[in-house]
């Protein structure tokens, strides 16, 4: 029976193997150069005092491969759609289950072995892919120090996603019994679950920490916990309060991405919409987007900061510290693996008891 499961899976497996090998070759050809460039230019830029151009140069390297490596986010979905959904659906659609289930192999054993063989392959493919992407991207990741920015693409969570996507695909195939609709349903359901999980579950996996302090402009924007370690924390939400402790921002003073909306006051000075007016006059441009390209001139920054200081604003951040990165990775992977096992169990039950 293992032979049959493998024989039916052989073509799909060789396609995946081919893609993995192509990616591995690409990474092996470019990765060592990246690491070398990192060691010789980025690591020494502080000594030479030319960090800005060196970093700009470094990030211009292998831009295409870097963009393509983001496609790793699609790997679990593809496994679910092309390996999971057809596993049983194609047998139902073509009627071949009638041949398969009347050999001397019980249905229970048939589905367990098919699930086992292809699930193992899915996990292996996703794991290898993530391993290669994580290794290749490490110089960039070391510079950006933003582990949560690439949380879904690195480490061990792709393994959980792949197992889940595969089991979800099988379940859809078992329920819908037709290949193409099952594939479509798998894609929709998987995307929905992933988005919902990222949006609502991941921030609450561990109870988040809170920071509150004076609102200051800093290099990386307002949504950053100041004075912390090496890597960026994951700020789940931020609130800015005026000196009476009332939340501002929603009424236009400070936008959702930290844009500070300062306008010339009617009677001189500068107005922060919805908060108040300070006596300082800000040299134009008066609207400073923190994330806009290029930092504002130094005199503008100082004037803005002085104006903001006069309002005694406070910011309250809810965040997951960078030190929890691996804990969150393990939790998320484990949850998706549990979901995968539950779906596989359901498929097993359905094939054994309900199908045909």
């Amino acid at each position: 029976m293992i032979w049959l499961a493998w024989r039916q899976f052989r073509t799909q497996a060789s396609v995946a193997g081919g893609v993995l090998i192509a990616v591995a070759i690409t990474f092996l050809l470019t990765g060592p150069h990246l690491a070398h460039a990192y060691d010789t230019t980025v690591l020494t830029c502080k000594v030479h005092g030319d960090c800005a151009p060196v970093l700009a140069n470094f990030f211009a390297r292998d831009r295409l491969i870097r963009d393509l490596s983001r496609a790793a986010i699609l790997v679990p979905a593809l496994l679910g759609v092309f390996w999971g959904a057809p596993l049983v659906a194609r047998e139902m659609e073509n009627g071949t289950f009638r041949m398969a289930w009347t050999q001397s192999v019980t249905r229970s054993r048939w589905i367990v072995i098919k699930l086992g063989v292809v699930a193992a392959a899915s996990v292996a493919v996703a794991g290898l892919f993530s391993l290669m992407v994580t290794w290749w991207s490490s110089p960039f990741d070391t510079i950006t120090k933003d582990p949560f920015g690439t949380f879904d693409l690195r480490g061990i969570v792709p393994i959980g996603y792949a197992a889940f996507a595969f089991a979800l695909g099988v379940t859809m195939g078992v329920l819908i019994r037709r290949t193409i609709p099952a594939m479509a349903a798998t894609l929709v359901a998987f995307t929905a679950v992933r988005v919902a999980f990222t949006e609502w579950v991941r921030p609450r996996l561990l109870s988040p920490l809170h920071y509150s302090g004076a609102f200051t402009l800093n290099q990386n924007g307002p949504n950053e916990v100041p004075g912390k370690g090496q890597a960026r924390d994951w700020v789940v939400s931020s609130l800015i309060l005026n000196k009476r402790g009332v939340v501002i921002g929603s009424n236009g003073g400070i936008g959702p991405n930290g844009e500070i909306n300062l306008q010339p006051g009617a009677h001189g000075g500068t107005t922060l919409v919805g908060v108040g007016t300070c006596p300082e006059t800000i040299p134009p441009p008066t609207s400073t987007g923190v994330h806009s390209s290029g930092p504002a001139p130094l005199n503008v920054q100082r004037a803005v900061q002085k104006c903001l200081n006069s309002f005694h604003l406070k910011e309250v951040l809810t965040y997951q510290p960078a030190s929890r990165y691996w804990t969150l990775q393990w939790y998320e992977m484990a949850i998706f693996l549990v979901l995968a096992v539950a779906l596989a169990g359901f498929s097993w039950y359905w094939v054994r008891r309900r199908l045909a």
Binding site: M1, W3, L4, R7, Q8, T11, N94, G95, T96, F97, R98, M99, W101, T102, Q103, S104, V105, T106, R107, R109, R353, A356
Partner: protein, 307 residues
């Protein structure tokens, strides 16, 4: 042949026994209250109109379907109860499915890897005799070749009971004849009990020695074909009232013109009345008569339902 004497128990002489068997899809019953017994050591033809429940019955027999009601036992145990039971029953499905991406040789390997009782010599010699190219993908075979491949798989696992669900329905006449020919050879060679469903009486006549007519889940007629043909007659004579016939003659079908009556009767003894011209029946006449009878029973059931 298949009678197994269990210590202290009754001997098992039926390969299939169904009791009040039913299968429902949603609110529609594909088979309901079906009670029948298929004897061992025969090639049994299961005929009936479309929708009679033949396919459902056979799928229940091989365990592809689970009954909604009633009970079924095949070779003395539940269908598809375990691997051993699966190995004892061979199945060729309607429009026999094969894996289009797998070659003929792959299919034989599939059979070998999934059946401990696999007879590889039988399988390879059959494939050779059929002239199938082992490296040919099943998707490229003709319908007849695919059916032959499916039959090879079902036979080479050396089952005690072979179930064929309209195996030749989609084949052209030549392929159909070849298929049935090979089936007959196999049966003769390996002493296997067979049930074969078809709505074509000619196919049944060619290979079967036992007949079951199933109409709307009810068995209308069952018995060895030879006996059935010798006990059924067409009587043609002057117009009469069928109820005037002797006790041992049962009218299956009657038609009357002004002067003449034509009766299809089952008679347990010889027909003595010299007024009748006695004609023998073809199997097709017989089957059609009983199917018609089933339909009229059905019609009365319907009118009852409507009240």
């Amino acid at each position: 042949m298949l009678s197994v004497d269990l210590p202290g128990g009754p001997s098992v002489t039926a390969v299939l026994e169904a009791e009040g068997l039913g299968k429902r899809y949603g609110r529609r019953w594909a088979l309901s209250e079906c009670t029948l017994s298929i004897p061992a050591g025969h090639v049994v033809g299961l005929v009936g109109p479309n929708g009679a429940g033949k396919s459902t019955l056979l799928n229940l027999a091989v365990g592809l379907l689970a009954p909604t009601g009633g009970s079924i036992s095949v070779l003395g145990s539940l269908p598809a109860a375990d691997a051993a039971q699966l190995g004892r029953v061979g199945f060729v499905a309607q429009d026999p499915p094969t894996y289009s991406g797998l070659s003929v040789a792959d299919h034989l390997k599939l059979g070998a890897r999934t059946n401990p009782t696999w007879d590889n010599e039988l399988a390879t010699s059959r494939v050779r005799r059929l002239g199938l190219d082992p490296s040919q993908k099943a998707g490229k075979l003709s319908g007849g070749q695919r059916a032959q491949l499916a039959l090879t798989l079902a036979i080479a696992k050396r089952p005690e009971f072979l179930v064929l669900d309209e195996p030749v329905a989609s084949l052209d006449p030549l392929a159909r004849r070849e298929f049935l020919q090979i089936l007959m050879e196999t049966v003769a060679e390996h002493q296997v009990s067979v049930v074969l469903s078809s709505h074509l009486v000619a196919d049944i006549e060619r290979v079967c020695d036992y007949l079951i007519v199933l109409v709307s889940s009810r068995v209308q007629l069952t018995g060895e074909i030879e006996d059935l043909l010798s006990t059924h007659h067409r009587l043609i004579g002057p117009r009469c009232d069928p109820s005037s016939l002797p006790e041992n003659q049962h009218v299956i079908e009657e038609s009357h013109s002004e002067r003449q009556s034509t009766l299809l009767v089952r008679s347990d003894g010889p027909i003595m009345d010299p007024a009748w011209t006695i004609e023998s029946l073809s199997l097709e006449d017989l089957v059609l008569a009983y199917m018609g009878q089933g339909r009229s029973i059905d019609a009365t059931l319907w009118s009852k339902d409507d009240e």
